[in-house]
Amino acid sequence: MDKRITPAKAAAMVKDGASVMVGGFLCCGTPDLVIDALAESDVKDLTLYTNDTGFVDRGVGKLVVKKKFRRIFASHIGTNKETGRQMMEGETEVNLVPQGTLAEQIRAGGFGLGGFLTPTGVGTEVEKGKQVMEINGKKYLLELPVRADFALIFADRADENGNLVFRGALRNFNPVMAAAADVTIAEVREIVPVGALDPNDVIIPGALVNYIVEAKTNG
């Protein structure tokens, strides 16, 4: 039941064609060591679910530059010109999803819901191909759940059970992604013994976390 693995072992689990969710918001709360290990691997044709594609030299953006993705679902790609270039030139399929809808789709995927109705995107290009339902006179889009083979997330600390605690704005998409993948790998700054975390402070229960990568350096 030891959940600790190295970044290299985490990356080695991800096979060609897999779908991955990557936590973080403009590189805040992103699993950098796991991303670096993936960048060094030969893996390709991945599908990515993430809030944004970071920067060309930071966060998940490094993997975009390495052309690891066949498809990307994100709410914002404006900070990484390479994503836009690949999209424009047809090299990568890029799907823009409203941020709240993406977060809720991932939550629905992790929490066993078959979909949800949101007013976001009604009357816009986001509506295309989706069922519009009217509830109490207001229009909503039926949005479907999203799951992935892997969730690559980040937290401040973990205990050995995989319980995760956060600080500041690190949470963002990490908690919803934790539940929505077949295999969830959490990179953390430090792993502490069972009992060292207050159960009131845990944001992601260890039950949702399969593996932990510790980023603590010898510094």
């Binding site: 918001f25 403009l26 590189c27 805040c28 709360g29 809030n51 944004d52 994100a74 709410s75 914002h76 790609i77 404006g78 900070t79 836009g84 999209m87 424009m88 823009l96 409203p98 941020q99 709240g100 809808t101 977060a103 809720e104 991932i106 939550r107 949101t118 007013p119 976001t120 995107g121 009604v122 009357g123 816009t124 290009e125 986001v126 401040d156 956060f166 600080r167 500041g168 704005a169 690190l170 949470r171 963002n172 998409f173 990490n174 908690p175 919803v176 944001i203």
Partner: protein, 219 residues
């Protein structure tokens, strides 16, 4: 007014719309400046859609905390009495109408209160980020922008760019005036006395209805 003065003028006028106790989300760019002009006697809570309420000023150099960043990825602070949360909760708060005011920029707004601000097909596709959710969820939507772009009107009879939201805009504040969206279209509530009403109309694609209480714009 130079560009900076114009932007500050607009931001100052927007700040007057905020009420004591309001939860406010400010978009990137011009809207961010609004925080600098909230009067001392009003307590306004700024929400950062990446995951907190209580957004404070930029930290002093050397005191940045990389875990506390705003939705533009810049280091900020959290004020006493603030709270952190994840993206699903953040957009639940937004979509659920718990944000009193959102202030956003726009590429175009039309007289049906439609807004376009997330892409120019074939040119610029940054993505909608949280804008679609904010537009559908916030109780009041204020568009804060310069009245024209390179001399071309941005207040249109009909948006030509892909819409970010339908019928969502309540108020537009530019360097030329304050325009309310009503069933009849654009209603000029206030004008900047540096311009004549005719000049403002000339800079606007759609007809401007004059409010019976039309007055001079004060900041």
């Amino acid at each position: 007014m130079d560009k900076q003065q114009t932007q500050e003028f607009i931001a100052k006028r927007v700040a007057r719309e905020l009420k004591d106790g309001d939860i406010v989300n400010l978009g990137i760019g011009l809207p961010t400046l609004v925080a600098n002009f909230v009067p001392e006697n009003k307590k306004v809570f700024f929400q950062s859609e990446n995951g907190f309420i209580g957004l404070g000023p930029t930290p002093e150099a050397g005191k940045e905390d990389p875990d506390i960043v705003n939705a533009g990825g810049a280091c900020v602070t959290i004020l006493p009495g603030g709270a952190f949360f994840d993206s699903a909760t953040s957009f639940g708060i937004i979509r659920g109408g718990h944000v009193n005011v959102t202030v956003l920029g726009a590429l175009q707004v039309d007289e049906k209160a439609n807004i376009a601000n997330y892409m120019i097909p074939g040119k610029m596709i940054p993505g909608m980020g949280g804008a679609m959710d904010l537009l559908s969820g916030a109780k009041m939507v204020i568009v804060a922008m310069e009245h024209t772009a390179k001399g071309n009107p941005k207040l249109m009879r009909q948006c030509s760019l892909p819409l970010t939201a339908v019928g969502a805009v309540d108020l537009i504040i530019t360097e030329m005036g304050v325009i309310e969206l009503k069933p009849e279209g654009f209603v000029l509530l206030e004008y900047n006395p540096e311009y004549t009403v005719e000049e403002i109309q000339a800079a606007t694609d759609a007809p401007l209805h004059l409010s019976p209480n039309l007055k001079k714009m004060e900041v």
